[in-house]
């Protein structure tokens, strides 16, 4: 396929769309699907067919505010309807061209106006299973431009210039990583996409893979051209069946169009991608464990160096990036590095997708420029804490991250700023907690997660997380002592400094950050045997004590 052919496809899609007076976009992301979006779409199609209006009913990827689903957006008016079900289909179709249906309309202007959409630019606008929809929105243009007009080093230069940093959590400069793999010797190199999103409360990568799978594939193909790789793998967790099926469809269509395979766009560039399914291990999100899993071995990390860039899959140089990192590539190649570098803060460029969950009004997916204040994300975009409760803390970075208290809400979101307050950017989960959340219990939850997800290879993580869990459980049950607290701190320190991989090194973060900002809650549990939030059940211990007294 050439650029001319690509433009031809885009043109024919536009012509086809112009036949319709109205576009009814139905969000078919997992959250909306689980609330009957598929039945809704059928009903809308039926209603549209029965009416004399020219209506295009389109399934799309995640529109963002998942808690308001199922969502429907009517174009060209851009009317957004929430909590729609199949019964509303006729009313919606009938309203087209007239006044919107008032009881379904929702006002989320604050929610959308503050967002900047780069990764999610197509979300809600294209059918994820139609490659032509993606092409009509400049899809694969970046790949073909790179192949025909740019050298591999030119592509790397553009990525470096953009200042893009790894979106999987580590924040390693993407251009630097690509440059290292490009310089590594050897004929055979691999490109791997890390779609093993496992943080509790994080669903950014799932939504990207489900809503815009071609964007990931295009990013990988550009990366492969830049580093000289000919084979790619997308590692997706098996718990994401919709993502897997949409990626499979996307790969098939991409091959049919000649955008993957041999001699892409009449150039000597060959590249193809295979999907590998994860078997449910969180640790396989760690790059060396992920590579071991692709090779068919036990998913356990290896000490680095050697880094995958030098010796990765089957000992070959391997570029491994996160889904969201790859999703940023096409727009950067299309619009230039400077365009991307203009967004964001000093050392964190571009935008970041966050999954807002927990005690917040607008649960769902948001994309904001780096450097935006946490307060703006939570209070304006997220709509604040509902039901009259007060905000207590926001947990970023999943089980590896920390809890940030209300005093620090004016913090600008960037890799370095979050690190400085004892949390991390992570892959982008943001769990909001209010006055009904017990911070000791929250720490225990995340430590339990790390304990069960530890691979068991190194001692500090394997036995250390289990000991942390025991000590935190004691405190939550009312049998903890101040000595236990000292022990916990000493343990955290050793686990952080001596663990083999990132899972262990960051596992103490939820404990350390809650201890730093909410130590009084620990003291309340230990000394006064009471849980200020009323979450922990301490009665069991209290009754034991009273029995002892009676005896």
């Amino acid at each position: 396929m050439t650029i001319e052919e690509l433009e031809q496809v885009a043109k024919s899609v536009c012509q086809e769309n112009e036949k319709y007076d109205f576009e009814v976009n139905v969000c078919m992301d997992l959250a909306c699907m689980s609330q009957g979006a598929d039945r809704l779409r059928e009903a809308l199609e039926k209603a549209a067919g029965a009416s004399d209006k020219h209506v295009l009913v389109r399934r799309t990827g995640c529109m963002g505010p998942c808690s308001s689903g199922p969502l429907v957006r009517v174009d060209p008016e851009e009317t957004l309807y929430h909590h729609v079900n199949a019964g509303h289909a006729e009313a919606i179709v009938a309203s087209l061209g007239g006044a919107p249906v008032p009881e379904l309309q929702c006002d989320l202007n604050d929610h959308f106006d503050r967002q900047v959409r780069v990764v999610l630019e197509n979300a809600g606008h294209i059918d994820p299973e139609k490659i032509d929809d993606y092409i009509a929105r400049d899809g694969y243009k970046a790949l073909l431009t790179a192949l025909t007009e740019m050298t591999p080093s030119g592509v790397i230069h553009r990525i470096t210039e953009s200042g893009l940093r790894g979106r999987g959590g580590g924040g390693y400069p993407t251009g630097l990583k690509w440059g290292t793999v490009a310089k590594a010797g050897g004929e055979l190199k691999y490109v791997v996409c890390n779609g093993d999103e496992g943080d509790p409360g994080a669903f950014m990568d799932r939504s990207v893979m489900e809503g815009d799978p071609h964007r990931v594939i295009e990013g990988m193909a550009i990366a492969a051209y830049a580093v000289g790789a000919s084979k790619g793998f997308i590692y997706v967790r098996a718990e994401y069946p919709v993502a897997v099926s949409r990626l499979t469809t996307a790969l098939r269509d991409t091959r049919r169009r000649g955008l993957l395979g041999s001699g892409i766009c009449n150039t000597p560039f060959n590249f193809d991608v295979e999907i590998r399914l994860g078997a449910g291990a969180f640790v396989c999100g760690e790059e060396t464990a992920l590579l071991a899993s692709i090779e068919g071995r036990r998913g356990a990390p290896k000490p680095r160096p050697p880094y995958p860039a030098v010796s990765g899959l089957w000992g070959k140089p391997t570029l491994i990036n996160n889904v969201e990192t790859f999703a940023n590539i096409a727009p950067i190649v299309r619009n230039g590095g400077k365009w991307f570098a203009n967004m964001g803060s000093e050392r964190s460029k571009g935008t970041k997708v966050f999954a807002l969950t927990g005690k917040i009004a607008n649960t769902g997916l948001v994309e904001v420029p780096m450097g935006i204040k946490l307060r703006e994300i939570i209070e304006v975009i997220g709509g604040g804490v509902p039901d009259g409760h007060t905000f207590k803390a926001v947990q970023t970075g999943g089980p590896s991250g920390g809890c940030i208290p209300a005093e620090m809400l004016d913090l600008g979101v960037s890799y370095d700023a979050l690190m400085a307050v004892g949390s991390i950017m992570g892959s982008g989960g943001m769990i909001v907690m209010d006055d009904t959340s017990c911070m000791v219990n929250v720490a225990r939850f995340f430590v339990e997660f790390c304990m069960t997800e530890s691979c068991g290879k190194c001692i500090p993580c394997r036995a250390g997380t289990a000991q942390m869990f025991t000590l935190l459980s004691r405190i939550c049950e009312g049998s903890g002592t101040m000595e236990d607290l000292d022990l916990l701190v000493s343990l955290c320190n050793t686990i952080k400094e001596t663990s083999l991989c990132g899972l262990g090194m960051t596992a103490p973060n939820p404990v350390l950050s809650t201890l730093k900002y909410f130590k009084n809650e620990y003291i309340e549990h230990i000394v006064h045997k009471r849980c200020p939030a009323g979450v922990c059940n301490m009665e069991a211990h209290a009754s034991e004590v009273s029995k002892e007294v009676l005896a």
Partner: protein, 237 residues
């Protein structure tokens, strides 16, 4: 000149030493009689960097490096025995003792156990962490050997010696995290497994987890020194 010949110089614990490019910190330290504690590492098997006891400090970075897998580089300054490292080593050993049921007085390896020796050397006099006391099985189905999971520290020496040296790959690790255990074949009984009965795993096991049945109740010294010789002889061929 020294660069081109692949010879590097570095400082370990204040002592200037020379090394070949590509050597690990541990190798160079041992050549120079500088002792770094190790548990999962054993000469003759591939290093996995899992026990974290051999971590060392390198001047100029706050990161700790596992000396069994970290390569040396020109001019680096390594510290192997600082208070920070000693503290971490004690905590790691405590974690091991509290993880399973290590009762030295009734163990076949009492007196010649690598874990016990390390604990004495590192000054672990008591365990402040809560004992987990897990209920773990003993598999005595093999005609010659027994595996007592209560004494296993998951160093994976048995897994590696069986795969890398014997070529049988009977041993492997099952489960995750704190529930990990070593298994034979697909969690079959050791006696019913494809074990070749060579006994190498028993000799390299640092504790009393794998032992020879004929030695129950008596002293059971182990002789892992065969490994370097075996590798040497194989290379000579």
């Amino acid at each position: 000149m020294s660069e081109s010949m692949g010879v590097k110089t570095l400082i370990i614990d204040g002592q200037e030493v020379s090394a070949r490019s590509g050597q690990t910190i541990l190798e160079v330290a041992r050549e120079n009689d500088i002792k770094i504690p190790t548990l999962c590492h054993i000469e003759g098997l591939g290093a996995v960097g899992a026990c974290r006891l051999c971590l060392v400090e390198v001047k100029g970075t706050s990161k700790l490096f596992p000396s069994c897998v970290a390569n040396i580089h020109e001019g680096m300054e390594v510290l192997t025995d600082t208070e920070r490292l000693r503290k971490h080593r004690r905590v790691i050993l405590e974690l091991l003792f509290a993880e399973r049921n290590h009762i030295c007085s009734v163990c076949v390896s009492n007196g010649h156990c690598e874990l016990q020796a390390l604990a004495q050397e590192q000054g672990v006099t008591h365990i402040s962490l809560p004992y987990r006391n897990p209920a773990l099985a003993v598999d005595a189905s093999h005609e010659r050997f027994t595996v007592d999971h209560n004494r296993c520290i998951l160093c994976t020496r048995c897994v590696r010696v069986c795969a890398e040296i014997e070529g049988a790959h009977v041993w492997d690790v099952m489960g995750r995290g704190i529930d990990s255990i070593v298994i034979t074949d697909l969690h079959d009984e050791w006696g019913a497994s494809s074990c070749t009965r060579c006994g190498k795993c028993v000799q390299v096991c640092p504790t009393g987890a794998l032992f020879d049945k004929s030695k129950i109740g008596s002293d059971h010294p182990k002789y892992p020194d065969f490994l370097p010789y075996l590798n040497l002889m194989r290379e000579a061929q």
